[in-house]
């Protein structure tokens, strides 16, 4: 067969498909224990260090549950797409020996697998089902996608799609659910749960067990770093938690044996100190530079990276070349030094691609410079030193950064974390010096907590045991335990306690110094810690927890004396001043040698609450953002930035009270009941929703009536018309009489055409359940036929149309000149029903020749380019009273397509032209 223009050929490929040689992983010891603990729980928490194998454990638990329940589906949500790669492909054996090939069919974390319909709709389609294979029941997506899906389902009342679903939230420290007691009226407090998007979703899962919803949270640190909790008090008891402490994890490693955490003081040019560190040994480094807005930054992130690369050049030599894969390589002829700059946005896709290969070869990379990137989920197993420039406020952030090092790799025995603390005594102002010292000590203090996370203090004592129901029993065993963690399982709360203890211990140190009492401060410290514990609601094991906290504080002081806290009896520890190390650190940098001087140097003193509030009222600040702006520029030293913390229990009510606006945050306002509020609004006699919004914006609206009632009363909300009392209902929400009954009603009215129907609608007699526009979409979809049937006229309008010639005769008489004039005529209501409004459609195949032909204008389709005959032109001019050339010109301008030539004396020269007088039918000055 010869096919024109057809080229076809068979070709051979040299590349072949790669079958995955599956090696089925088996559970490590801790994973096996975690599996046994969590495999059948509805709500689970996996709290294990970075790199310990949480992802695999989540896959294994999911696989077990999916096989057990064929109707169950699984969604794994990660904060960034790159983290999703850990769930993309796994081969493992379940504890019962079943082999599983885990390859989710829906991986929305991979650019190449985004669905055509978009990720949000893709997840919704997945939720709608059905599902085929095991892997067809697994979906990977980001937190952002999942939150957007939840919002969409909520908006569309489709939350019922969230059923038979197991959700894993990886890096769950992004979840926020916090109980807040807020005073909304004098003396009355309400408790409210404040959540972020992913927190709201997790709360939905906990609140709806009847939908067979299962929720799992996995994180390295079960705290957020911002003093907010992951789970509310109501939610937390429903979860079963498996915790793998860092020390246990480190013990299980094959190669990594030790880690060190140290500080280096530097001036604002931290690159010099980095150079000194790099000179100590050539390692695999990650350098985290501070954010440009941080006061520890030079202000330009690119320059900061350039300086670091220059320092590397000074240490390792070589000429810098930029590679196509995004690397900067220092070529020195021997061993090239390879730098990956993740701060510079150039070649981001190439760099991202390169990071997927860095674990394959130890020599692939020597240094990563990062700012906000390469934290959670990022993986470079060869990294053995982390240099963090500037302190970080968030402990979670710190843990994520140093977590990159805790990956086991052949030959990696020791990892090193160095925090560079820019500190300068050159500050002239006391405030700047204090801020500087404060942030320095804050970082030192944070290191204590961090160390306790990595290597928890354990106190020997009677351990509480649990009975079968999980409740604590009176029986006890002698064991090394972290009592603090046992009694206060919430990390956020533990951090708050530690922070408060630090302040109390510092006060005690100062007091003892003033009284020249240089002995042990254990007795006072013990009482102070107990008081703090009571304030935080701790009711038991005060002695054990006090010992625990005391040891955490003392560890650094002991380390300075070359002592290991694990090997010392508590009787010795209790005689040590737990804050001594702070003096040691500060004496080196600014010569502070007494606690009194230390406290004076770092502690602010604020004016009393009443005076501060009076002062703030004079500022007329109305919002929190404006308050922060004012604080950053004009705030005096004796007014706190965070009055809610400083004046807590000393008169603090709320921000509205502080600013003098009396406003209460939207979340915490209490409103009248829906019925009461509606009654109030209806008495206002508002005519429309627009009038309501104008009223809501005015100062007349009482504070206990919401401006957006549709949000506040969403469960009871009916419509805006119901709220204002006008009974107006949005078109798409109206409920109309069934079509047949509506038609029956309309027929009885005896209307003849649409004009009469419209007039009837305007008359106000029309019942509300009869639509004004029954032909509109969504009103009678699928049932609507035509107006003739609706009105009950005997024939359909189409059949009753006049023939085109008759219709044209009628229209010509109207003398209309243009389409606009015709439209106006149609709208006037004078048009007979048997003449169509759109003749081009009605007569499309019945002789339609265009608008001019329809209106009777000369230049219709038949007459294009033609002019009227001499006599015909004369007749037209006569009819229109045109008897001069000027009148003719003006008339032609107004009447296009008239068929009369602009130069008739030339055009009719050979076809009847006599004279202008004859043409205008003028005889001796008179018109004929």
């Amino acid at each position: 067969m010869k096919i024109p223009g057809f080229i076809h050929s068979w070709k051979q490929t040299t590349v072949n498909p790669i079958p995955d040689g599956s090696i089925f992983m088996v559970l490590r010891n801790w994973q096996r224990l975690a599996f046994l603990a969590l495999c059948d729980t509805t709500y689970s928490i996996i709290n294990a260090p970075m790199g310990s194998g949480k992802s695999l454990l989540m896959c294994i638990i999911s696989a077990y549950r999916l096989l057990k329940n064929p109707s169950l589906r699984c969604i794994i949500s990660v904060p960034q797409t790159i983290i999703g790669s850990g769930f993309r492909r796994q081969s493992f054996k379940l504890p019962d020996g079943r082999k599983i090939d885990w390859v989710p069919q829906y991986n929305f974390c991979n650019d190449d697998e985004y669905p055509d319909e978009g990720t949000i709709q893709g997840v919704i389609s997945f939720l709608k089902g059905p599902h085929a294979s095991f892997n067809d029941r697994i979906l990977l997506c980001t937190h952002a996608t999942l939150v957007a899906v939840y919002k969409r389902l909520k908006d569309r009342n489709q939350l019922s799609l969230l059923k038979n679903l197991m959700l894993w939230i990886d890096e769950a420290h992004h979840v926020k659910n916090i109980d807040m007691d807020v005073e909304w009226a004098q003396g009355t407090y309400i408790s409210a749960r404040v959540s972020n998007g992913i927190g709201d979703l997790s709360a939905h899962f906990v609140d709806h067990p009847e939908m067979n919803l299962q929720l799992g949270l996995a994180t390295a640190s079960f705290f957020r770093g911002d003093r907010c909790t992951l789970l509310s008090k109501e939610m937390e008891p429903k979860f079963k938690r498996f915790n793998l402490p860092y020390d246990q994890y480190l013990e299980s490693m094959d190669y990594l044996r030790s880690f060190s955490f140290s500080f280096r003081i530097c001036n604002n040019d931290h690159s010099k100190t980095i150079k000194e560190i790099l000179q100590t040994r050539r390692g695999k480094d990650i350098i985290y530079i501070p954010h440009p807005v941080s006061r520890h930054s030079s202000g330009c992130k690119y320059k900061a990276v350039d300086r670091i690369i220059s320092r590397c050049q000074e240490v390792y030599g070589g000429t810098k070349t930029d590679e196509p894969n995004g690397l900067a390589v220092l070529r020195n002829g021997k061993s090239d030094y390879k730098i990956l700059d993740l701060v510079d946005e150039d070649q981001r896709p190439e760099k991202k691609q390169f990071t997927t290969t860095i674990n394959d070869d130890r020599n692939a990379l020597d240094l990563i410079v990062a700012l906000g990137m390469f934290k959670e989920g990022a993986d470079w197993i060869w990294a053995d030193r982390s240099i963090i420039v500037g302190p970080r406020n968030s402990l979670t952030d710190m843990i994520q950064m140093i977590g990159r090092l805790f990956r086991d790799a052949k030959g990696k025995k020791h990892v090193e974390i160095v925090v560079l603390l820019p500190f300068s005594l050159e500050h002239v102002k006391k405030k700047e010096l204090r801020d500087n010292l404060n942030s320095y000590l804050k970082a030192v203090f944070a290191s204590l907590l961090l160390e306790n996370v990595l290597h928890p203090v354990k106190i020997k004592g009677p351990a509480p045991s649990e009975d079968k129901d999980g409740k604590k029993s009176g029986k006890s065993n002698e064991s090394h335990l972290s009592f603090f963690e046992y009694v206060v399982p919430d990390e956020t709360e533990r951090l708050k306690i530690m922070d408060d203890v630090k302040d109390r211990l510092l006060e005690i140190c100062v007091k003892k110094e003033q009284n020249n009492e240089l002995g042990s401060m254990w007795e006072e410290g013990k009482e102070a810690i107990k008081e703090v514990l009571v304030q935080h609601g701790v009711k038991e094991r005060f002695v054990d927890i006090t010992k625990h906290i005391w040891t955490i504080f003392s560890r650094r002081t002991l380390q300075m004396q070359g002592l290991d806290v694990d090997k010392i009896d508590f009787d010795i520890i209790k005689d040590i001043n737990p804050l001594r190390f702070l003096l040691e650190y500060t004496s080196g940098i600014c010569g502070i040698k007494t606690f009194r001087a230390l406290k004076l140097a770092i502690h602010r003193t604020y004016i009393d609450f009443e005076s501060a509030r009076r002062f703030v009222h004079t500022l007329k600040i109305k919002s929190h953002s404006k308050w922060q702006k004012w604080c950053s520029s004009k705030k005096p030293d004796d007014i706190p930035v965070s009055p809610d913390c400083v004046y807590k229990g000393k008169g603090w009510i709320n921000w509205g009270d502080w600013f003098g606006t009396g406003l209460i945050a939207t979340n915490f306002r209490k409103y009248r009941s829906f019925e009461e509020a509606k009654l109030f609004v209806q008495k206002l006699n508002l005519k429309s929703w627009e009038e309501w919004t104008a009223y809501a914006k005015s100062e007349k609206k009482p504070k206990d009536i919401p401006a957006k009632p549709q949000d506040i009363y969403k469960d009871q909300w009916i419509s805006s018309g119901d709220w204002t009392g006008t009974d107006f209902i949005a078109l798409y929400k109206r409920k109309y009489r069934p079509y047949d009954k509506a038609v029956e009603f309309v027929h009885k009215l005896g209307l003849n055409n649409i004009v009469e129907w419209k007039n009837y609608c305007k008359s106000g007699k029309k019942p509300k359940d009869i639509p004004t526009a029954p032909d509109a979409s969504k009103v009678y979809d699928g049932k609507w036929k035509n107006w003739s049937e609706w009105l009950g006229t005997s024939t359909t309008p189409k059949n009753s149309l006049l023939p085109i010639e008759e219709a044209k005769k009628f229209v010509h008489k109207l003398g209309l000149k243009s389409r606009d004039e015709w439209n106006k005529y149609c709208e006037s209501g004078k048009k007979p029903i048997n003449i169509p409004k759109a003749p081009q459609n009605a007569y499309a195949e019945k002789g339609w020749k265009g608008v001019n032909d329809w209106l009777g204008n000369w230049w219709s389709k038949d007459n294009i380019g033609k002019y009227r005959s001499y006599d015909e032109s004369r007749k037209i001019l006569r009819q229109n009273g045109i008897n001069t050339e000027r009148k003719l010109r003006e008339w032609r301008k107004k009447n296009k397509n008239n068929g009369i030539p602009s130069v008739p004396h030339k055009f009719y020269k050979n076809s009847g032209w006599k004279s202008w007088s004859h043409f205008f039918s003028i005889s001796e000055g008179k018109s004929k």
Binding site: K11, D20, R89, D101, Q105, E113, H131, A132, D136
Partner: protein
């Protein structure tokens, strides 16, 4: 909605179907598809705009050539108008108004999914969602016990798109774990690919390439 966007009955398309489906299937398996197995395809339009059967369309050609019976044919089309047109022209054939993967998932969930030939004629380049769809379908088909003949057809050359060859396509597919999983479950690549210049009765600047994959329960 223009329901006559392409002429899927043009001689080029028919020739390519003969070369890539009918002949290779007979090479690898049998003269005809066993009666209990199904022929699944992204068929496009198989009817005239008036709703009459289109001579030379995929369904017509496969039946005329004796590869299948019309009852074995499962045509999938995502555009509702074209699906309706197909259904009205060929009322006794199985038609699915969905994307190919979803349609097969629905069939599998209902328990009557028995594919013998699956033809994924993507009007897309490999760099779009065609690759992931191919990988997903292959992974899903891996769980079927019977012999399956699978074709994937991609655009390899068009305006404003750098031409790609077969090596690029296979390398690209190799990136997908679903694809690699399928190949560890018994799928084989034919080793060759068929390239032709699009559809229509005149020369076309769009080039397509067809890749053949087979899963055989018993090696022939």
């Amino acid at each position: 909605m223009n329901v006559n966007q392409k002429d899927w009955s043009c001689p080029k398309k028919q020739q390519s179907r003969m070369d890539t489906i009918i002949s290779p299937y007979r090479e690898h398996f049998n003269h005809s598809l066993p009666k209990q197995l199904q022929y699944w395809t992204l068929c496009g339009q198989c009817a005239t705009p008036e709703g009459n059967p289109l001579k030379g369309c995929e369904l017509d050609q496969m039946v005329q050539e004796g590869l299948i019976d019309a009852s074995q044919f499962h045509g999938v089309e995502i555009t509702a108008e074209i699906h309706q047109l197909n259904a009205s022209a060929w009322p006794d054939v199985h038609w699915h108004n969905d994307d190919l993967y979803r349609a097969m998932v629905v069939a599998q969930s209902k328990g009557w999914f028995k594919p013998g030939i699956v033809n994924c004629d993507f009007p897309k380049t490999i760099d779009s969602s065609a690759a992931s769809c191919t990988a997903k379908i292959l992974a899903m088909l891996s769980e079927q016990p019977q012999d399956i003949f699978f074709l994937a057809n991609f655009i390899v050359r068009k305006r404003f798109y750098t031409s790609k060859d077969g090596n690029y396509i296979i390398e690209y597919l190799n990136k997908f774990p679903q694809f690699r999983l399928a190949f560890s479950k018994g799928w084989q690549y034919d080793g060759r690919y068929y390239t032709y210049n699009g559809t229509g009765n005149v020369g076309s600047r769009t080039f397509m390439s067809t890749f053949i994959f087979v899963k055989k329960t018993i090696q022939k």
